[in-house]
Each structure stands twice: as structure tokens, then as C-alpha cells.
Symmetry: C2
Subunit: 522 residues, 2 copies
């Protein structure tokens, strides 16, 4: 697709891209210098020594965001009615016309929540969502993935556009994308994220091992791979010089796809920038893959050691999957400060295995969530959060897990509760993409990357069942939204639990990135 399409239309797309730069800057000045968000805010506060377990927190009041940089300038949780709002406005020296006000609606059980962070997603694989038959990782790559990624049709741009819009609609404010080996198409993905206002890390995929990659989809040499990667880095740094929204990420596909020369060179390439560029790759997704790596890198002591000896295990490295790591590998990863993208929907769909997340956390590994589209069948981080919870509840039955933990009887502590998986989806992901003080929460100084979640009104609160003929007869706009049924006697925590288990994109009413509204549900 991409290669031919973009080569032949480079003039047009270059023109369009520069216009996008002018029009879609994430920090573009709004009509008023501040936007004030009023209502209910739910988030996972930062962990510290006094507060070492993620726990949902709710506050109600006002929070204001500067239109100049999209950051949270302050909040006041005592401003809870119109009178106190007027007093507060006066105390700031503002009138209503000085600010844009966005209110959450309590009647409709709305609340502001931090945007989701997808730490691992393959944009070009999106049309393959749900298509994988009975395959496991390695045959899936050959049967489904490489042909899709290599496809040369004008469809490419349409696919990238769709994946950015879809993930935004599911509340993903930040995504770390794998693209393909094609430079113009990878650059177009960066431009589309920029145009639509999604924060993104864009990786041109490097794969030069001719024995492991298909002949129709492989870098012609390691050096050609470096050059192509540099062209993408240059493009992105021109598109968004301050890296406000879009940043490049060095992306060796995974160890088997790359020569030693390529792995070493990509480590050096990342290190040659200041600050060093982020790196993303895959690790220990599947037992056959782990065996293949042992065979291809006989001098290495482990899969993680392969990356370490090639300078790729940095404190800005995202390692996707990490299903079958040894305890020693977890220790090494923790020592290097590298991070893990947990992709449970994909791991279960491809039968890769049950990742021991609690055990990894206990070894000091930083973990976030990834959809791994299209190994994962859904673009939704909320769906991934559900799967993370489900997997954590059955991992106790895994023989591998029992061996890893010394065959201790489960005390239930391996289970990830709703608060914890939502932490992984927000603060956890922020740490994984090395932006822990910028995104993932509502602290003062953080960037306003957020969603307005709407659960809807209480189910049938006023209508007797005797009067209700069918669902079709129900006024959807005044009732529940999607599949979250609120009966009115739930605590706010239980409402959030219901959202986590039964919510979907219908509950995502608005999405902001860098203070800018980037999605509104029709």
C-alpha cells in the first residue's frame, strides 16, 4: 500500500501535511485563556510510601486548564454550587466571559477521568482485528500480519485514519504505535495523529533478518533500516519540533527479526539523541518465540539479555507482552528501568499465555496496558483492563505461574482489582511511555489529557415495567448509556466498577488531549 501510494502522491501529501501542522497544533490558543472544568473528577492518585495500593479517588469542584499550554493550573474542591462558583471566579479576577466552562452532569452520572494510554498498538494491523483463526504468534505473523503490513494499496491512509479515530473514540489519548517498514506511510500516521490531536509515539518498524522475515517484507539491509528510521525521526521532529504531541520511537520489531548489527545500531541511534529516544519492541510473548531467540542468540543468557547486550534495555524502553519472563529477567528489566506493556487480550487470543502481572509488579517492574491490535481484537483499553483483571484471576491455575511463585497456594493477592487495572490504564501507561509527571492523572501541572465518561441516568427510575413495552420504546437519551445499568443504589465506586466491566465507547462522551477537544460522541 503505503510505499507506492505515498511515493506517487508525495507532492500532494507533503502539502497537506504542512497545512496540518499549521491547523492542528495541540496547543493552539482557544477563545478564552482558561477552560474551567466543573463537576465530578475520578482518578487514581499517584502512589507513594503512604499510599502504595492504587485506589480510585473522587473529587468534586472546579479544575482549570490553560489554553496556552493545555496544562492544569489549579483546582478547588470546595466550589460545589453556583454561588461558590461565582465567588471563586471573582477571587480569580475572572468573569464568566473570561473562561470556557465545561460541566459534568450528575443526573447522567458523568465524570472526568484521565485519558487512556495504549502502550502497544500496531496501526496497520487494524483491519485484521478479530481475524486470527487458530494461529499462535509465529504462524499468525506469517499468515495474517506480514501480508497485511506489506500490502501495497491506497487503503493504507484510510486504515491509519480509522485507527486514530477509533482509539480516540475509546478514550485513548496517548498511543505508542508500531507502523510498518515504509517511511512515507509511517510519516503519514504521525501526521494523522497530529491532525486529529492524539498524543502518539510513532515507530517505523525495523526488520532486516532475511532468514526470519518474508522476502516481500524486509529491510534491504541494517543500514538501509537505520537510514529509513532516521528519515522518519527527522520528519516527526519537523512536524512537531517540541514533541508536544508526536514523538518518534525506535522500533526493532523483535529480536528474531533483526541482525546483531541492526540491534546494536538501533540502540546507538536511540542513544545519540538528547534526551535519548524511546525504544519499543516485543519480548517473551510466546514459548516458541522464546525458544527461537535462544537458538538465534546462543551466546545470550536470556531473551532480556539479548536486548541488554545490544543497548536496547534503557529506561525509555517499552517491552511488549513479557508473558514468559524468568524472575532473573524481571530483575534485569527492573534494574535497567525498562517498562512492560501488558497485552492480555492479545495474549489470550493468540494463546500466548497468562502473564504474571502481580509478580512482575512485586519485582519492581513498571507495567502499563496495550491493546496490541490486531493480535488483540479490540481497540479499547477498557476492554484490555477487563482482560487484565480476568487473566489475573485465573493465572493461579497456570503451571508456569505455580513454578515461578514456588508452588505456593494462591492467597488471592495475584488478582488485580478494578482500581488497579484502571491505574495501569492511566498512571501505569504514563510511566511506561516515560511521561509519569505529565499525563495519567489530574495533578496540578499535568497536561489535560482526559475523557468525560457518561454512565447515563438511572435505569427506568420512573417507569413501571408494566408500562414498558420493549427496549425500543425507551428514550435512550434519558436512560442508561450502552450496557452500564445504574439502578441508583450503587456507591460511586460501584458505578466505576460497572463501567469497567460493562462500559464501551458509548460511555466516552468527550475526549481532550493537551487541553484540546479531539472527540465528541455524536
Amino acid at each position: 500500500m503505503f510505499q507506492k501510494f505515498f511515493s506517487s502522491s508525495l507532492g500532494v501529501s507533503a502539502l497537506w501535511l504542512s497545512s496540518a501542522v499549521l491547523n492542528a497544533c495541540g496547543t493552539m490558543a482557544a477563545a478564552t485563556p482558561y477552560t474551567v472544568y466543573r463537576g465530578t473528577f475520578i482518578q487514581l492518585p499517584e502512589l507513594d510510601s503512604a499510599n502504595s495500593t492504587p485506589q480510585l479517588a473522587r473529587t468534586q469542584g472546579v479544575l482549570w486548564v490553560s489554553s496556552s499550554d493545555g496544562r492544569i493550573k489549579g483546582y478547588d474542591w470546595k466550589v460545589n454550587d453556583d454561588a461558590s462558583f461565582q465567588s471563586w471566579l471573582s477571587s480569580q479576577g475572572w468573569t464568566e466571559s473570561d473562561v470556557t466552562v465545561v460541566k459534568s452532569d450528575d443526573e447522567r452520572n458523568q465524570f472526568f477521568f484521565p485519558g487512556f494510554i495504549d502502550t502497544h498498538i500496531h496501526a496497520p494491523q487494524y483491519p485484521n482485528e478479530g481475524l486470527f483463526g487458530s494461529s499462535g504468534l509465529l504462524d499468525w505473523l506469517n499468515e495474517y500480519t506480514f501480508p497485511m503490513e506489506a500490502r501495497h494499496t491506497p487503503e493504507g491512509l484510510r486504515v491509519y485514519n480509522e485507527v486514530v479515530l477509533k482509539t480516540l473514540a475509546h478514550g485513548t489519548t496517548t498511543a505508542s504505535y508500531f507502523a510498518t517498514i515504509h517511511v512515507p506511510a509511517t510519516n503519514a500516521l504521525a501526521a494523522l495523529c497530529h491532525k486529529h490531536g492524539q498524543r502518539a509515539f510513532i515507530g517505523r518498524v525495523c526488520m532486516d533478518n532475511k532468514e526470519q522475515c518474508p522476502s516481500y517484507y524486509v529491510d534491504s539491509s541494517a543500514d538501509e533500516g537505520f537510514n529509513a528510521t532516521k528519515r522518519t525521526i527527522d520528519y516527526i521532529q519537523t512536524l512537531d519540533p517540541n514533541g508536544t504531541l508526536i514523538n518518534p520511537i525506535v522500533t526493532p520489531r523483535f529480536a528474531p527479526s533483526c541482525s546483531n548489527h541492526s540491534l546494536t545500531g538501533l540502540g546507538e541511534l536511540a542513544a545519540s539523541y538528547s534526551p535519548p529516544l524511546r525504544i519499543q519492541t516485543h519480548i517473551s510473548e510466546n514459548n516458541d518465540e522464546v525458544a527461537l531467540v535462544q537458538q538465534l542468540f546462543p551466546d545470550s543468557t536470556s531473551y532480556a539479555n539479548v536486548y541488554d547486550t545490544h543497548g536496547l534495555l534503557t529506561n525509555r524502553t517499552i517491552l511488549a507482552h513479557a508473558v514468559h519472563l524468568t524472575k532473573d529477567e524481571m530483575t534485569l528489566i527492573s534494574e535497567r528501568g525498562s517498562k512492560v506493556a501488558h497485552c492480555p487480550a492479545s495474549n489470550s487470543a493468540l494463546g500466548s499465555g497468562l502473564a504474571p502481572v502481580r509478580f512482575m509488579l512485586d519485582q519492581g517492574v513498571t507495567v502499563g496496558l496495550g491493546t496490541d491490535v490486531a493480535g488483540g481484537y479490540s481497540p479499547s483499553i477498557l476492554e484490555v483492563a477487563r482482560q487484565a483483571s480476568l487473566v489475573s484471576r485465573v493465572v493461579q491455575y497456570s503451571a508456569e505461574y505455580q513454578a515461578l511463585t514456588g508452588n505456593k497456594t494462591s492467597d488471592g493477592s495475584e488478582k488485580l482489582l478494578v482500581d488497579e487495572v484502571l491505574y495501569l490504564a492511566t498512571r501505569g501507561g504514563a510511566a511506561v511511555v516515560d511521561m509519569p509527571t505529565d499525563i495519567g492523572g489530574f495533578d496540578k501541572g499535568m497536561i489535560w489529557d482526559a475523557q468525560l465518561i457518561e454512565l447515563g441516568a438511572v435505569t427506568n427510575s420512573t417507569t413501571s415495567p408494566l408500562d414498558v413495552a420493549t427496549l425500543a420504546g425507551r428514550a435512550v437519551e434519558t436512560g442508561p448509556v450502552g450496557n452500564v445499568d445504574i439502578f441508583g443504589n450503587e456507591t460511586w465506586q460501584e458505578q466505576v466498577q460497572k463501567w469497567m466491566w460493562d462500559g464501551d465507547d458509548r460511555n466516552v462522551k468527550n475526549v481532550w488531549v493537551q487541553g484540546k477537544l479531539v472527540h465528541t460522541r455524536a
Copy 2:
């Protein structure tokens, strides 16, 4: 809830119920003697010696259903355009005014599919969907379930109404319900299913073991349990004398809840009817529960043996969960012709375990799918089908599974493909509720219990990404429906796979039960 509410308003509700009988008969004569369905039909054909693996089949043409009994009277897969339709009508001796025509829309990727069969669902637990914290089965029963079921408020009827409407909206045309111990409320559930036109088996829950049940929620004696159960059976057989839509089902909660006297008496009660009544209960959901049963029934050789020795293991018995059965128990269940309701969403959510479905099928056990609301977090059988597939892909890692299968290395055959889980959701469920020749497919003579599935038009087929500002700017009605993105180059099988993995109630446009339209998506 139910007890008080219904006792005090029995006159009113009895009046309303008899009016429902008159107005909502599933086989009520329509305006025309036949309804003709035109377009695309997808189903899982019946298995036979030549065709032993479920495989999706698509046919296009006409299928006609009698309005008098709601059954399929014939089909013709050569009638594929308006001219052949007119010829076919003439050959039947009909004109267009003699029949009601319902067409599927190819442009919107619509197709008729058999209705889903939920073989295990607890109606009163619906408000607890998604609420279970970190609990496992036994503490979950005490903390969440018994208090919810025992609640005495007028909310009950509202809950039952909601669960019937919700499951219909998700394409569930048949459900096997556990209600509570309360007779009037259980009867009201039957009446609501009848009113809304959902095929249902309604079970008043029996639980008389005072040492295992909470004092606030227990039958006062086994005999009182029998009497109460008989009152429900009588009510249902008056409501729907031919059992066209609604039938009673004898429902001992599970072995630990019941005395020996109760278990024996319920087996005898079921056997005293002709044909014998259906029975439903739980089995081997959780390891602690299995241990408890061993302790409570020391003379029994296994959990399945407890039910067998009490006359409860019949060929009309539905056993929910069956996560931890031994091979001998599977053999016993297969010999008795009892059936299994596989509830993977619940089994993972409560951390009950990974049921070895392929292994059970290989032992000759009949399996269908159950939501197990609210151990399961979703009312959707499509979601359960997804979970069945996911669990089948990771069960190979379970130590228990490895022991059961003799520690053989997985050859991948344990994985349940899309065709197979959709078979379990339709034909499998039909066999589990002992209606294998009536529902679950589109054979001649079967009842028209069906859904019209709509995947929506091809994604952005005509719009350039350069012209698309946001998702909100997209005309939803002319684009994809929900999260199923069709790019236009998929095979029809791949379209069904995408629906299975990413579909939801938005894709359920119409639902029919017994030939009658019972749900239309607004």
C-alpha cells in the same frame, strides 16, 4: 423485595398477568398467514457423521415462517432477485399482499442468525453485574449474592423487567433462569418473559440447608421448598398451558444448599411429570466448593455422584460451570445424558478456573453457553462466546488441564474457533435445554427464534481521510455499526469473525421468538 411486594399486590398483578396471557401469546396470529424472510442467512448446520465439526454456512434466498405456529415451513436458496421472487410467490399461489416480507440489507451487511440461548442466568443478580471485588465463589455468595437475592423491596419487578429486555436486546431468544426462593416474584419473572416474548425456563431456587444458607434467605424446610416449587410450576403451566414459550425447571441451587431429603424430593418431583421436568443446578465451579461437597456428602464418590444418587442427573438436567470435573464424572454425565452450561466469563471473573471444554466434548458431554449473570459481568452470549474462545486458548497452561490430559504437549486442538463457540451459543444451547430439533438453527420445521444482525456499511468507503475531521462528523447510520469495522475486502466468514470478536448489542437490529418480533433496535 419480591415476597412483600407481591403478597400485598397480588390482586393487581394477577389481573395484569391474565391480561398478558391474552395479549402476548407467542403464536398470536399475524396479519398475514406467512412471513417471508429474504436475504442472507448464516447458521451452524447440525452435526452428523459426515460433518462432525461445526462450520458456519451461508445461504441466500427466501425462508418462510407460518404465523400460526412460528415454525419454518420451507426455504428456497435459488430465489435471489426480484424476478425470481415474483415467480416463487406465484408458484406458492401467493401475492405480495398475502405475505409479510422482511429483507436483510446487503449494503449494510445484514444477515439472519439463530437467536442465542443462555443456558444459565440468575435474573435477580442483574443489578450486581460487575460487582464482585476480589471474591471467589463462596465468599461472593455470602457478600454479594444472597443479600441481593433476599432484598425485600419493590425494586424486584423492575430488575426482572430490565434483565429480560436487556438479554433480548443482546439477541438471547431463550434463557434458563434461576430466580429466588420467592414464589410470587418467580412467577412474575415468568409473566414478564411471557409478556416480552422471550422463551424461558423459570426456576424457583430451592435451598433448605440451614447450616449452609444464611438465616435470612433459606427455605423453612424441604417440604416447604417442594410446596413452593409446585406453586410456581402450577402458575407457569396455567400461564402457558402448552409450554410454548415458558416452562418450569426444577432448581436445587447446588448440593451444599440442600438437604439430602430436598435433593431426593426434587428429583422425584421432576420425574413425577410427563414428560419429566427439566432440572438445573451448579456443579464443580470452584475448588473450595468441590471440597465442601466432599465434606458434606462423605458417602459420595464425586460431586456428580451426589446428584446421580439423588435422581438429579437426568437427560433433561443442566449442570452449570463444570470447571473441575474428573474424567470419570464427565463419563457419568455423558452416560446420563445430562448437559453442561459453560460460563467462562463468570469462571474467569470469580477466578473459579479454566473449564476444559474440548476435553468435555471429546468425552461426549453436550455443552452450551451461559452468562451466569452476575457471576458473569455481561448479559451478552456473544461476550460469553468470546470468553469461551479466549479460555480455550489458554487452558493449555493450566496445571489441572495438563494433568487431566496426561501432560501431553498441546497440539492446538483444544482451541475453540469462532464457528465452534457460535455453535455452542446456538445449536449447543438448544441441546442443553433439550430443544435440539426446535431451536438453534434454520432447519425446516424449526421455530423461528432468530436475530437480524447488522454489521453496517463498509468503513469510510467513499470519504477520503483528508475530508474526515472527527468520528463525530461521520454519519453513523451510513457507516459501521458499533465496533465492527468492515473494510470491504473480508470474506463473509471473516465478517462473522469480526462480529464475534467486536460485536455488541448495537449489531442486533431485530429479534424474533416463535415467529414474533420481540425487539427492534431504535
